[in-house]
């Protein structure tokens, strides 16, 4: 199971192993990472699961598709490394991934 490190808005790190196939959002929820609200439950409709992929990992994780890209426009403080974590499916290649949770409300 790939190891994922989530860093919340206060800089606190949450290290957790998440099964491949789950979403980055589900990994955060299961680990109780604050700030990943995910109110639409992964339907790519709310943008409250917004996070920044650590610079070293943006190529491995890749970019958003059209729907996600549009939904990201609703998110606070969008950056080039922004992703909606519900739309990122975890793969073995993401072992060691670092994710910075955005300010979601």
């Amino acid at each position: 199971m790939p190891k994922i490190t989530y860093i919340d808005v206060d800089g606190k790190a949450f290290e957790t192993n998440v099964a491949s196939g789950l979403s980055l959002m589900e990994g955060a929820i299961n680990a109780g990472v604050p700030g990943v609200l995910a109110i639409c439950g992964g339907s790519c409709a709310c943008s409250t699961c917004h996070a920044y992929i650590d610079d070293a990992w943006t190529t491995v994780v890749g970019g958003p598709n059209d729907i996600e890209d549009a939904t990201l426009d609703l998110a606070n403080e969008r950056k080039p490394s922004s992703r909606l974590t519900c739309q990122v499916q975890i793969t073995d290649a993401m072992d060691g991934l670092i994710v910075h949770v955005a300010k979601n409300d």
């Binding site: 789950l22 929820i29 109780g32 639409c40 439950g41 549009a70 426009d73």
Partner: protein
């Protein structure tokens, strides 16, 4: 201090977590009569039904996350009465729980089919995870599926069943789909979409009765004398707000528990939020009831603020979505009482929006496979931007220019 929340759905959980985030440190009890931790309903008619998705993936939080927040979660526990004088809720077991603050987030239940034979085992509903499990178990063995009700849930189930290769017929008593929520142009578009995928429709006719057949299937007789043979029936003919507890305790109810713009009931110690409320949103002149994730979450936050002694008025923008096949319908605002509906884009292309106006003001936008336009519409409405109707109808006009300067 003790706060009790009755109903462990999306609104109930939202209130609990907002209270903790708002630094509430007293006792916090979340009571639900279902046997699962709070879970998401939207996937029940979509992904959960289509894939063999595990139940746990629907849960908002693993149980230990509730414990960590010191939320006393009581599943399989039904509240049978509210004793406002003693300030206690009464459980089915007879146990009484005291409260200083109380939240009612009891949601809705499905409207049962009002026809003879509706107790046939092939009749399914879809509100809870129990219902979804039952439907998912029965679906593989059914070749012919009859959906009663052409609303969101009926159509999502129809799409899923059709994608699974079932023969699907939808019976809708009105003359078009999702009639309460969308303009005829959107209804027609979805009817064509479903027809193109092989779904059959019977419009303007109601179900009259269900007669069991010896092989476990049934005959559904319609009001016009025709009949349909099928193996499984899914009824999606609307819901009823769970307001009996509130009503029996003397709280004001209409089509839902009446709350003001602060989510307060007629008893200042009691708030209510989510599907069960008949509520005021500052954006709209009239009170109404809404069944949506947006309302459960945003009104939940307002209710939590009120329990904490703050007064934050409810004025969030309503939004909603529905997935049918690979088509995404996204809605913002409330368009029910519009006087003009203007199409932006080509309906034939399968990607367009409908902008709804009332006396010249934008009141809602439905977008079909146009996520960027939906998000822009949310921003336009959120900022109160002035959108001239002729601009909305002109695809060459860049609507971003209507946004107020950042």
């Amino acid at each position: 201090m003790s706060i009790v929340i009755v109903g462990a759905g999306q609104a109930g959980l939202q209130i609990a977590e907002s209270l903790r985030r708002g630094a509430y440190e007293g006792r916090l009890v979340l009571i639900g009569d279902e046997s699962f931790p709070p879970y998401q309903r939207p996937p029940l008619s979509k992904k959960y039904l289509a894939d063999q998705m595990a139940d746990e993936r629907l849960y908002f939080r693993p149980l230990e996350q509730l414990e960590k927040q010191q939320i006393e979660f009581r599943p399989q526990t039904r509240v049978t009465a509210l004793d406002r004088e003693a300030r206690e809720v009464v459980l089915a077991s007879g146990e009484r729980l005291p409260y200083e603050g109380l939240a009612l987030t009891t949601g809705t239940r499905v409207r049962p089919l009002p026809v003879p034979g509706a107790d046939h085992p092939a009749v399914c509903y879809l509100r809870g995870l129990d219902d979804a499990r039952r439907l998912r178990e029965r679906l593989p063995a059914a070749a012919r599926v009859l959906v009663v009700g052409g609303g969101f849930i009926g159509l999502e189930v129809a799409a899923t069943a059709r994608a699974a290769g079932k023969q699907v017929t939808v019976v809708e008593a009105l003359d078009r789909l999702m009639a309460r929520a969308v303009a005829p142009v959107v209804s027609d578009h979805f009817a064509s979409l479903h027809r193109a995928r092989g779904v059959e429709f019977r419009f303007g006719v109601g179900l009259a009765s269900i007669t069991a057949q010896a092989d476990g299937s049934f005959t559904a007789s319609l009001a016009d004398g025709s009949s349909i043979q099928a193996d499984l029936l899914v009824a999606g003919i609307g819901v009823l707000p769970n307001q009996e507890l509130a009503a029996a305790a003397g709280l004001e109810c209409r089509s839902g528990i009446v709350v003001d713009e602060y989510a307060r009931t007629s008893d200042p110690r009691i708030v209510a939020a989510g599907d069960c409320t008949w509520h005021i949103n500052r954006r709209f002149a009239a009170a109404h009831r809404l069944e949506s994730v947006q309302n459960a979450v945003d009104q939940g936050k307002i209710a939590a603020a009120s329990l904490l002694g703050q007064s934050v008025p409810y004025q969030d923008l309503p939004w909603f979505w529905s997935d049918q096949y690979d088509v995404k319908l996204q809605m913002v605002g409330l368009s029910q009482d519009h006087d003009a509906a203007l199409v932006r884009g080509e309906t034939a292309s399968g990607a367009f929006s409908v902008f709804y106006f009332k006396t010249g003001a934008l009141v809602g936008v439905d977008s079909i496979n146009r996520p960027a336009e939906h998000m822009l519409a949310r921003k336009l409405m959120q900022t109160g931007a002035v959108v001239p109707p002729e601009a909305a109808a002109d695809p060459a006009f860049d609507l971003k220019t209507c946004l107020p300067p950042a």
